[in-house]
Amino acid sequence: MPQSLLLLPETPSQTAGPYVHIGCVPNHAGISGIYADDPGQSPFAKDAAGKRITVTGSVFDGTGAALNDVMLESWQADGDGIYAPYQGWARMVADAHTGQWQLDTIKPGPVGPQAPHIALWIVARGINLGLLTRVYFEGDDQLTDPLLSRIDPVRRVNTLIAQETDPGCYRFDIHLQGDQETVFLDI
């Protein structure tokens, strides 16, 4: 027998369930007085440098319904393409009626050869392992991006490109299944 490699297996994932708000955004869930603020309400300080943008979207299930209980987290570089530990992260919850979520942030800069992008992590009832994807932006130079260039068939690249509906306002819908299924990542 050779030596053991001694890698510990990762703890298995379980669904976040329908009550994820209690643990992650308790004030939003109406449980006030335990935490002063829900974590991740804004990814950057109000006076942070960079171009302010808004990303809005919904997460659709296989029947075309928007998930009204989904929670998302975003992680991104700043306007200069730098990841800094105390900024760049946010938590979004879908509106309980419309299923729409919104991220008010700064347009990230390119990170080396990677085109500007925001990582998204999606959890909800019925999702057994948090889903990772990325928001890229319409109009950016994405030719050298190593992730987008791996997507096959090429037409699925569009599922990761947010569309600019008004200046600085982007739309990014996520489709869990179907013809428009979003590209999810195993990174």
């Binding site: 994932s13 449980i31 992260w89 990677q114 057994n128």
Partner: protein, 238 residues
């Protein structure tokens, strides 16, 4: 130092499509994921300072009103490690759970069991330099849920865990040793490997139980590891 993540072993996790858990049917991606080595985006992640924590954040027995919640008092503690067995220090762990009767303080939960006026149901902490964490809470009740006609969740605590990298992000659930509902639970059974299920079951830990006060359960959590070699073979920014 930012290091590449070791690729995820999907055999440890439930697949996306698990028809025994009906909610997964229309919420599961069907196409293969795009696999590639980690980049700076996944290898970095947010850091949370102790200044975000209140003094009672990890004490669910009293953190809602200051008065004791009803239920069996239990300490839940353990260590946060990466796959390389290194402790993960300074990491945020958030938990949420039903009260002792199996009822969540949530507008979508209409179970017959009453709310406990002194139980909110959430707690959080940051791991110490050895990766250790602890909570004081009440044992959550089992509860029924709509899936097949008579499905019940075993007693469980939901855990949301940050590592040092966004690619390590994990949400899971902890179960209690000896609960006969574990083996019957469609959500537990989304995990195909029985040995992986066992890693979600916290043993009763009498060495840490406090006499005349609280039982204890020990739950260690392992996040993805990083490649330890010092050789670099990638351009800046990847």
């Amino acid at each position: 130092m930012i290091k590449p993540l070791i690729q995820r072993d999907h055999a440890q996790h439930p697949p996306a499509y698990t028809p025994g858990y009906k909610s997964s049917v229309v919420r599961s991606p069907r196409l293969p994921k795009l696999s590639m080595p980690s980049t700076r985006t996944e290898e970095t992640g947010p850091v949370f300072g102790h200044d975000v924590l209140g003094p009672q954040d990890n004490n669910l027995v009293i953190n809602y009103t200051g008065q004791s919640a009803i239920g069996e008092r239990v300490i839940v503690h353990g260590r946060l490690l990466d796959a390389n067995a290194n402790p993960i220090a300074g990491a945020l762990i958030e938990i949420w759970q039903a009260n002792a009767g199996g009822r969540y303080r949530h507008k979508k939960d209409g179970y017959l069991a009453p709310l406990d006026p002194n139980f909110g149901g959430c707690g959080r902490t940051i791991t110490d330099d050895q990766g250790r964490y602890e909570f004081l809470t009440v044992r959550p009740g089992a509860y029924p849920w709509p899936n097949t006609v008579n499905d019940w969740r075993p007693m469980h605590i939901h855990f949301s865990v940050f590592g040092h990298a966004f690619g390590q992000r994990l949400i899971t659930q902890m179960y209690f040793e000896g609960d006969p509902l574990i083996a019957r639970c469609p959500i537990v059974n989304t995990i195909p490997d029985p040995a992986a299920i066992d890693r979600l079951i916290a043993p009763l830990d009498m060495a840490c139980a406090m006499p005349m006060d609280a039982l204890a359960y020990k739950f260690d959590i392992v996040l993805r590891g990083t490649r330890q070699t010092m050789f670099e073979n990638r351009p800046e920014g990847l």
